[in-house]
């Protein structure tokens, strides 16, 4: 009984992650510049990578055909999800800070940019 419930929850998380991944990769093409594409990256890493790995780990804990190594797969999967949820926002943040400091991408649309007024694109 509890085995089926955990399996269904894990499969739902994997399906949710597949859908979020597709939405994020379409958003990568629909958004116009670098700072807007950070939104799509957030969807693609947290909803599209962390949740499917947690779902697959939940399935692996109760999935008999994996044999004696099923606890290794579940535990290592949870560790991978923890690593990604800690490191992905830190990496995106460092990259955005470096791009703005180096003055590579313009801020569009821009109302006011106090850090570097020359990077402000067309005003709205």
């Amino acid at each position: 009984m509890i085995t089926e419930i955990i399996t269904y929850i894990g499969l739902a998380l994997i399906g949710l992650g597949a859908l979020a991944d597709l939405i994020a990769s379409i958003g990568m093409h629909r958004f116009k510049n670098f700072y807007l594409r950070l939104h799509a990256t957030t969807v693609g890493t947290i909803w599209g990578a962390v949740f499917p790995i947690i779902g697959a780990s939940l399935i692996a804990f109760v999935y008999e055909p994996l044999g004696p190594y099923k606890y290794l797969m579940g535990g290592a999967g949870l560790v991978t999800a923890l690593i990604i949820i800690l490191l992905a926002p830190a990496g995106s943040h460092a990259l955005a800070r470096a791009i703005h400091r180096a003055g590579i991408a313009k801020v569009v649309p821009c109302v006011h940019d106090e850090l570097n007024p020359q990077l402000c694109g067309d005003k709205q």
Partner: protein, 91 residues
Amino acid sequence: MDLVQSLVIVFLPFYLVAIVLYLIRAIKGPTIGDQVLAIDSMTYDLAALLVILGLFFKEPILIVTAIPLALWIYALDIYIAKYLEKGDMGG
């Protein structure tokens, strides 16, 4: 095929299409920030895909490859950010 395999094989094309779309953005991205961002998302999705493939092929040892992928792509982010900010990779 049992329930897990038959549902996972339905979800696999979503991940593959997403990886191909990220790859297009990584090749033609206007600035270097877009390219690094696209490679970032692509590699995290590849790690998720490896875990799900390990479930599909009933091979638990595939999980071991996902952890170094997640760590390497963080190293790429930090190296590119430091190079753009300071001008060298310095220690």
